[in-house]
Subunit: 139 residues, 2 copies
């Protein structure tokens, strides 16, 4: 049975800040056609600094920055240490300039490879009433 | 520059329907610890039937099932044909039985490899007011 796959990097998080810049490599730029019709995007990016055997064998962590959080499986938290070092963040698309997207709300480090972009559709992606444990509420 | 990465498959979409079953491989089962504290999850899965050169070189499609949709970049739609065959779906966690999760709302084919699970946090993941083009509204 096939038990793994490969991903190609589509671009790079060129800069981060209140507004972050995603640079899409020229060869993948045609995949942006029409993206300006959406206000928000889902960004899949590579936790490149955690792409090593130690971090990829991490299955449980105690989430930092959440007082009272217990030992937690990495499928039950957003730890960048996990078997597949892929992060998912919802961002607001602020502006497009050729193959560059300016976005706000990105939770990624500068230099992170971009794995995929998807348009955000509230019909399927927004669940305002979703429940989380109490220690996630006092960020 | 590193321009690609590899993903390991964490489990399989064992059955689909109103409720779908995700089976996590035994070795990755510890990563589920505490997942029952969340009502909803983000599932990353592999579009295994599209993992071939033809589908992975697809950069633009005309989305089917959306009357009036124009030619669109794959970063601006949820096409399973895309350079990295990764799907993202928000599901409701209905029940857990050992290493199996019963979920509703999964938009994946039976047999799809599971790439990652993440807990859904409405603070960062829910954007009810996100804008989409008109042709996405009449599903």
């Amino acid at each position: 049975m096939v038990d793994r796959g490969n991903v190609m990097f589509m671009g790079t998080v060129e800069s981060t800040g209140e507004t972050s810049t995603l640079r899409i490599f020229t060869e993948f730029c045609p995949a942006l056609l029409g993206i300006e019709r959406y206000s928000h995007l889902i960004v899949l990016y590579w936790f490149h600094l955690r792409d090593n055997p130690e971090h990829r064998k991490t299955l449980q962590v105690t989430p930092p920055r959440h007082e009272g959080a217990p030992l937690t499986g990495v499928f039950a938290c957003r730890s960048p240490s996990r078997p597949n070092p892929i992060g998912v963040t919802v961002v607001k698309l602020e502006r497009i300039d050729g193959c560059k997207l300016m976005v706000s709300g990105l939770d990624a480090l500068e230099g992170s490879p971009i794995v995929d972009l998807k348009p955000y559709n509230p019909d399927s992606d927004s669940v305002p009433e979703a429940e989380v444990p109490g220690y996630m509420r006092h960020l």
